[in-house]
């Protein structure tokens, strides 16, 4: 396997992915004195933040609203002054369970052995084929994030009259961006009966620009043999099946898909990490360690998060975990399963030790008002006026509350109506 001409090196921590999650993990590692390498395939750090020129980043962490590039800059400037070894234009060719990997760098191949690995590989957008929209296959059908890159980084508008399928945040934000650029957004369709993006984005990106939002609707046909000429919009029933006879044709030259993100989990699979069926990301503990010791995940590669602030905090936490593991080869073992109970789609982490404070994130299955997010069999409970699947709920279990978990083998998190 090992070719004598191939260079090799050792690091305490290798972070794969230089977006917000990876930057936070890498920076934390370096602050704690570890030798850290961040591997990034793009020409710069920052990941998707670089194409998010709208503001709204940093409210939770910095208490101010930054644009994506501004938020990224806070980290890149610190990283450039730190000891972190940043490998740009570098690809991971193979990732092994023993935490060694083969990299393709601008200077050739490089074998790296790491004490701990943090996989902060982000997510990809779901494609047209995955949601199985029938019809022709013209140009002018693309994921919303791709359009965002074309507009914000490459300086081109991919269409003039646009329909957006899916009310995820990217779709909402791109609708406003397109409007600013002089394109006409004919509407946004959402198959659910509630928007799946953040409420503030529904207001600021659609309502403020009179862009119609069609709830309980989906695109059922695509027209045009070369360039997109239109779509058919249909109402769906309670089972999300299109209702015959409700179809209306809308003439557009661009259809953007904002129909969800999927964690980029290939390297977890290569490393033999067990994945969660609910999140498609790895099963992790409170330090974001996977079931392969010393391999961590954080950010969207673990589960799809709403706010970059949470991504950053998870990155710091994973960085702390990686430092602890790289230092003594061990972390507190997390034996307690955290499982989704009533009206909970998923909870991360899926395992905790019960010894340390931890933050947990969940998404509900159905919207609910006056909801209690609670741990079954304990007094631990958090009140929310409204919960929806579009908004991730994050809460912390700390201090004395931990004692309540002592007797539990399994921590069941449920969301129930208080009144």
């Amino acid at each position: 396997m090992m070719n004598s001409n191939i260079k090799s090196t050792k690091k305490d921590i290798v972070v794969v992915g230089g977006g917000p999650a990876g930057m936070a993990a890498g920076l934390r590692g370096a602050e704690e004195g570890a030798e850290v390498m961040i591997v990034e395939r793009d020409i710069e750090l920052g990941g998707i933040l670089n194409q998010c020129i709208h503001n709204g980043f940093g409210v939770e962490i910095y208490g101010e609203e930054l644009t994506g590039p501004e938020y990224a800059e806070r980290f890149t400037s610190q990283i450039s002054e730190s000891s972190v070894d940043v490998m740009l234009n570098t690809f991971v060719l193979s990732m092994r369970p023993d935490k060694s990997m083969t990299l393709l760098t601008p200077n050739g191949l490089l074998e790296v052995e790491a004490e701990a690995v943090v996989l902060a590989t982000g997510a990809r957008e779901r494609s047209r084929g995955e949601i199985r929209i029938p019809g022709s296959r013209p140009s002018g059908v693309m994921p919303a994030g791709t359009a965002q890159e074309l507009i914000n980084k490459k300086g081109f508008l991919p269409g003039k009259r646009v329909f957006v399928l899916g009310s995820g945040d990217i779709g909402l934000i791109i609708s406003r961006r397109l409007t600013w650029e002089g394109a006409e957004v004919a509407g946004v369709a959402e198959i659910m009966d509630y928007p799946t993006g953040l409420n503030r984005n529904v207001v600021q990106c659609l309502h403020d620009y009179d862009i119609p939002l069609h709830l309980s609707h989906t695109v059922t046909d695509i027209y045009g043999s070369n360039r997109l000429e239109g779509v058919e919009l249909s109402r769906v029933d309670d089972n999300m099946k299109p209702v015959e006879g409700t179809g209306q044709d809308i003439d557009v030259d661009l259809l953007l898909l904002s129909v969800g993100l999927v964690p980029e989990n290939d390297f977890f699979k290569e490393a033999g990490v067990t994945l969660s069926e609910r999140t498609s990301g790895p099963i992790v503990d409170e330090w974001f360690q996977t079931d392969v010791p010393g391999i961590f995940g954080c950010g969207n590669s673990v589960h799809i998060e709403d706010l970059v602030d949470w991504v950053t905090m998870d990155g710091f936490r994973a960085g702390d975990g990686a430092v602890a593991y790289a230092g003594n080869g061990n972390l507190q073992s997390a034996e307690k399963d955290v499982v989704p109970g009533e009206n909970v789609n998923y909870v991360v982490p899926q395992k905790v030790s019960g010894e340390d404070d931890f933050r947990f994130a969940l998404r509900v299955e159905e919207p609910m008002e006056n909801a209690d997010i609670s741990i079954k069999g304990t007094d631990i409970s958090f009140f929310e006026k409204i919960v929806t699947p579009g908004e991730m709920e994050v809460n912390e279990v700390e201090g004395e509350d931990l004692e309540e978990l002592q007797g539990l083998d399994e921590i069941e998190v449920e969301v129930t109506r208080r009144f």
């Binding site: 191939i6 494609s127 791709t146 490459k154």
Partner: protein, 482 residues
Amino acid sequence: MNASYDVIVIGGGIIGTGVARALSRYKIDVGVLEKEPDVCWGTTKANSGIVHAGYDAKPGTAKASFSAPGNKKYGGWTENLSVPFKRLGSFVSTKDKSQLDKLENLLEQGEENGVEELEIITDRKRIEELEPNITEEVEVVLYAPTAGVVAPYKLTIALFENARENGVDFHFNAPVKGIQKGEDEAKFTIESGGGNFDGKYVINAAGIHSDEIAGMVGDDSFSIFPARGEYHLLDSEIEGYVRRINFPLPTQESKGILVTPAAEGSIIFGPNHQPLEEPSVATTKEGLEKVLGGAMKLFPDIDTGKIRTNFAGLRAKAGSDDFVIGESDAADNFVNVAGIQSPGLTAAPAISEHVVGLLEDLGLELIDDSDFDPRRNPIPKFAEMDIDEIAQYTDKYKAAKDIVCRCEEVTRAEIEEAIDRGATTLDGIKFRTRSRMGSCQGGFCTPRLIEILSDKLGVSPKEITKKGDNSYLLAEETKKGE
């Protein structure tokens, strides 16, 4: 431009490129006219990619006479052209032992057609050994080990490249508008969107348009009735779940909805069979549901969450339901190779050689060209290299260190070479390199592909298209903060 040829081939599908390449071993001038900007964008692009064993067709038909011989030529053909071809073997499965006689009939028919190694398997254990995940209800199988899979676009591109290497001219964006037959001399003048071309012989390999082309010389002896077939394509992640080419019992119209590994690693379901008045390759909700249902009958537990895309193709079905191969009664030296529906891909190598023989019978003098080289070098494929090969390749080419398509690990070196070899569109790059065929379906790499194409072709990014014509990707520049 205008040019003069001994033989003009109309159509750049598997038949057009196959015939052109077969002719390129002789000292004759050959030109191919293709209406699209690339080869292989008609019927050849979107089908099951099956090289059939040859038991389906009724003995005595043209289909039967070219199928088994075509299959036998595939090994050598694809080896010379460096195109992946896998003899996986095919299953015709039935859940009902009372259908055994139907399989026996197919076996007899196959043997009459010259198919070797056919076998009926009734031993459930053996069925499972050969195809572990097939529904447990299957009790009887006709097994044809000689059947295989090939990527039809890869094959057609290879035929095109090898023919071009051996002197054949290809004219793209050259839709044929009219054909004049010279009165005194044996000569045709073909008016096309890409110029006028003179030829002594014309091969009509125009797929679903071959009846229109024949009509241009007054030949109305056949009509093409396009029939759409729809497909699902799964992520290559589940490669290995299906191991052979799986058919249900055939019906009058078609061989049924099959489930098969694709030559390049993923799994395909399809096709259904829908005769159409107006040709269309749009997929439909009903069609895709039918295809999924058909596939689930054979593999009920397959992970349909791994479906990555769907597509449709058109069968170029002649009224006779058989291949139409031969000189036209309406015009001397005008040869129809039409109605090439399934098993046309299988038959292609045999048909190509047969057409060369036909031309010779019609008086074309065939003198061997000693410079003919049957071998074609493929674009080196980074994703298939081992570590030492990667070390060498990336040492040699700087662009090989730049992975553009992350899902399928396609480097900029491969993409640039695809453009050097004739790709001018995103689809052209896709069929040559697999970029945009992976999990993200082009979400990540499309902006870069546009840039690379625009740089290499020296045109504005706004000129770059998905598949020629009006399929542009970028409408205009942004205001850039103005």
